[in-house]
């Protein structure tokens, strides 16, 4: 913009020439003149383009052959390794890619280099014509008139009522998609059965854990005794009852009133199901005593009874009260004192009924 130095007025600003540009707009010069391509003027270039297109179609044939060879020549026997599968997958893909890209680029090249490239202009038509609209209105009026629905409100009203009610069975018939929730979410396998307390066992093999195995700083992934022996609903039970077991210096735990006896020698057990949306809170930071949920990064502080210190969870992880049985194995003295996992509408109601 160096040539502005001669003091001429600067026209590049935001001069809003409101209302004026209606009258003095630039005239549309029309479609630019068509420019001929090389292939239009030079027969040699056209011939070359033709050969290129044919070559691309030839590439496609090669691709198809690669695919077929890879499919039939590579055997996925019982002893096939990952490398074989990887090779076959790559060759099938390359074959398909050549087969498809050959055809695709060939056709596009053909269209761009050899087919006529004159831009043409076509008039748009009105989407609706006034004549049609009036005719349509007349037809609708006639139809309504012939049914007589305006003159016979009894028919209209009973029909409306019937049609309004008719979909109800269609909704009701889905009633057996699932059972009623009742209080199923409020209970887990940890509740003592016939007076016998459930042992804490290792996930996934189900071997019981001795209190003496749990050294300070260690953490165990725990499932209830008997889970692996369940015939059905194993995953449903596991989804509620998995627990993390950790041992801290007893002095660093700060149990609240009524929960002093829920741990044993600094060993505490907390539900592993995040109170946010239910991911397993699988990460234990031994140094800071934090539990971290890898899904949405909710962070719970073990030394404050798993209170939420960061992230989207709003409630602490439920604690499982534990003790030691006669043989030195860890057992749950009762079920959780609140429903585990993500919150739901009736959750508080269930918690109150558990504790009453």
């Amino acid at each position: 913009m160096g040539n502005h130095s001669d003091g001429s007025p600067n026209h590049s600003g935001t001069v809003a020439t409101a209302g004026q540009n209606e009258v003095e707009k630039f005239q549309d010069p029309g479609i630019p003149p068509h420019r001929l391509r090389l292939a239009d003027t030079d027969p040699k270039a056209a011939k070359r383009a033709e050969r290129q297109v044919a070559l691309l179609f030839g590439v496609s044939v090669v691709g198809t052959l690669i695919f077929l060879v890879a499919y039939f020549a590579i055997d996925l026997g019982d002893d096939s390794s990952i490398a074989t599968i990887r090779l076959q997958n790559a060759l099938l893909g390359v074959g398909t890619a050549f087969a498809m890209l050959g055809i695709g680029t060939g056709i596009v090249h053909w269209a761009k280099a050899l087919m006529p490239d004159h831009e043409v202009s076509e008039e748009r038509h009105a989407i609706r014509y006034e004549e049609d609209r009036q005719a349509a209105v007349r037809i609708v009026d006639d139809i309504v008139e012939e049914t007589g629905i305006k003159r016979r409100p009894l028919i209209r009203n009973t029909l409306l009522g019937a049609v309004a009610l008719a979909p109800l069975p269609a909704v009701a018939i889905f009633g057996d998609l699932g059972p009623r929730p009742d209080d199923k979410l409020a209970h887990t396998m940890w509740a003592p059965q016939d007076g016998k307390r459930k042992r804490l066992t290792r996930d996934p093999d189900g071997t019981p854990i001795k209190a003496s195995d749990v050294t300070i700083g260690s953490a165990f992934h725990v499932i209830p005794e008997g889970l692996n022996e369940l015939e059905e609903g194993k995953l449903n039970e596991k989804a509620k009852s998995v627990v993390l077991l950790m041992r801290l210096d007893p002095a660093s735990l700060n149990p609240s009133k009524g929960r002093e006896e829920w741990g044993y020698n600094g060993i505490v057990a907390y539900s592993k199901i995040c109170t946010h949306v239910g991911c397993p809170v699988a990460l234990y930071e031994q140094q800071t005593h934090h539990l971290l949920c890898p899904c949405h990064q909710s962070t719970f502080d073990l030394t404050q009874e798993c209170k939420v210190i960061f992230g989207p969870a709003s409630r602490p992880l439920p604690q499982l009260p534990i003790a030691v049985d006669d043989e030195g194995y860890l057992v749950a003295t009762s079920d959780f004192h609140e429903p585990v996992g993500p919150s739901y509408w009736e959750r508080d109601m269930h918690e109150r009924s558990i504790n009453s």
Partner: protein, 556 residues
């Protein structure tokens, strides 16, 4: 009978193809259709191809998906794996997971088809999203295409639904955790959440019903709805004819482009094969969803750094950004003994709700603000609608912040920063990002408009510096030809529409709001250059050219 003999002699085809065509035509009347569409004109522009990519991805999804259904078994019954993948031999798993592994390892080409299917699905949603951005930023949603914009939005939602239901089918650890999150979100719905969860899963999570139910949705209901919407979408494209970019010879009353046959059909048809080829290349070389690495679903383990498919990311990110507690105040609240899980409910519903509501209603908002009831077939260049471009960028950035939040843990580990800091920054950007984006995008658009004016009036810079006899240096500007200039000046520039009283002579409150919005939209405005301004500039430019010639003659 005699009447028949006096009738015009019937057409007799001479070639084999002709006879065949005539057979079909005389039974279904194809010649009328061919006459109507055979030479229909389509405008050409690279940005019109995103919609095509979406359509072709869907075709590829149907092809590869059909293959997969022949081998996939959506049962959640327990089985012990006995297939070609050694590390999982003998492991207890669902039949669905086992058959997915068999497709990957024991069926020739099965892994390839799985890869094609998954990549095509990712591309399907992505191309719909980019196509919608193109439509938004160029104003293609304006009358008469508002309804087609809505159909497109429904297609985006359906594409995400198709993707999510398919993602869960292999019943691997990763997708199972995805379902668990969905279950948690559903349970947060007030009053009916628990029931919906039990009805969806056929009881408690995970149950044994969900995979076969999702399978039915994935291969029947959702694709059928997508197909229906695609038919509607394309039908409306035919009714409206395609939009075109502004330029010489193009206006709202015509379509300038190539005829369907042969050029456009060849390009579009060839493009299908190109899309297929590119997806095949990705499937050949880039692993997607290696389910054998994750293992079967088990509610206990989860691996860090897990990610949903990209299109669900923004909801997951919103879930991560929401704080569950403010100090000791819990976002989850109990009223009348019932639980309101706001820490899940708000992020899961509100951002997506706002995005989709604004998206669906935007054509009507702009129509109301501009009082513009004309048909628009010529697109806006994004710079020529600065406020709309700003709004679009703000929405895009808002989406991207949430999307980035879905990878907050990966951002933290890759860049060696604190995870908590990443979350705090993204929380701030969630609110500030769109505002900055709006301001910057609008300013950039206005600046580009000024540049266009400058070029239209003074020509383009040639980079040639010339010294005048009196010692002044100037850069020679080359004037534009009228076609190039028209491209820069031939656009509409709406102005602020002040509030107008209604028929009772009252300026309603609604009208006042509309006027305020109109001011916000069009207050900052760069008017297109006019011939008069060019005339004024031309005298000056002419002098420059003359001086150049003088300068030239001096050097001789």
């Amino acid at each position: 009978m005699s009447a028949a003999s006096t009738a015009e002699p019937a057409f007799v085809a001479k070639t084999k193809t002709g006879r065949f065509t005539d057979f079909v035509d005389s039974r279904v009347g194809g010649s009328g259709i061919l006459r109507e569409f055979g030479r229909k004109v389509f405008p050409d522009h690279w940005s019109f191809m995103f919609g095509e990519v979406a359509l072709y991805s869907f075709v590829i999804l149907l092809l590869s998906g059909t293959f997969l259904t022949f081998f996939f078994d959506p049962s959640m019954a327990e089985t012990h794996y006995d297939g070609g993948y050694v590390p999982l031999k003998g492991v207890e798993m669902s039949v669905a997971y086992s058959s997915s592994l068999n497709i990957s390892f024991d069926i020739r080409g099965g892994l390839f088809m799985r890869q094609v299917h998954h990549w095509a699905a990712l591309l399907f949603v992505a191309s719909i999203a980019v196509h919608m951005l193109r439509v938004f930023f160029t104003g293609a949603f304006r009358k008469p295409r508002e309804m087609n914009w809505v159909v497109g939005g429904v297609l985006l939602i359906l594409a995400m639904a198709a993707g999510f239901t398919g993602y869960s089918l292999p019943d691997d650890l990763l997708s199972g955790n995805g379902l668990r999150i969905i279950d948690g979100v559903i349970k947060s719905i007030p009053v009916i959440g628990t029931y919906i969860s039990f009805f969806l899963f056929g009881g408690e999570f995970p149950g044994t019903a969900i995979i076969s139910r999702l399978y039915m949705l994935h291969i029947l209901l959702v694709p059928a709805l997508i197909l229906l919407m695609i038919v509607l979408h394309l039908f409306m494209v035919v009714v409206h004819k395609h939009t075109q970019y502004p330029g010489p010879g193009r206006n709202d009353n015509n379509v300038v482009g190539y005829p369907l046959g042969p050029v456009y059909a060849a390009k579009a048809g060839g493009f299908f094969f190109i899309v297929f080829g590119v997806i095949a290349l990705m499937a050949a070389f880039f692993t997607i969803n290696p389910i054998w690495n994750y293992g079967p679903y088990d509610p206990s383990p989860v691996s860090a750094g897990t990610q949903p498919d990209w299109y669900i990311g923004f909801v997951d990110g919103a879930l991560r950004l929401m704080p569950g507690t403010f100090g000791d105040w819990h976002v989850e609240q109990i009223f009348f003994g019932q639980v309101f899980t706001f820490n899940v409910l708000l992020p899961a519903l509100v951002p997506a709700g706002i995005l989709f509501t604004v998206m669906f209603t935007y054509p009507w908002i702009e129509r109301w603000v501009t009082k513009d009831d004309r048909e628009h077939h010529v697109l806006d260049r994004p710079r020529n609608a600065p406020t709309r471009t700003g709004i679009g960028v703000a929405g895009f950035i808002w989406y991207c912040v949430m999307w980035a939040a879905a990878g907050s843990d990966l951002i933290a580990t890759h860049f060696h920063v604190s995870l908590n800091d990443v979350t705090y920054w993204l929380r701030a950007l969630f609110f500030v990002g769109p505002i900055i984006g709006f301001i910057v995008a609008k300013r950039v658009a206005l600046a580009l408009q000024r540049k266009d004016r400058e070029i239209a009036l003074h020509g383009r810079e040639t980079g040639r510096i010339v010294r005048l006899p009196h010692g002044e240096f100037i850069e020679v500007h080359a004037p534009l030809d009228e076609y190039k200039r028209y491209k820069l000046v031939g656009f509409e520039s709406p102005e602020v529409l002040p509030a107008v009283p209604n028929e009772h002579g009252v300026v309603t409150r609604k009208e006042k709001r509309r006027a305020a919005l109109s001011r916000w939209f069009f207050e900052d405005r760069v008017a297109p250059a006019t011939p008069a301004e060019l005339e004024a500039a031309h005298g000056h430019g002419h002098a420059a050219v003359e001086s150049t010639e003088e300068a030239k003659s001096l050097t001789h």
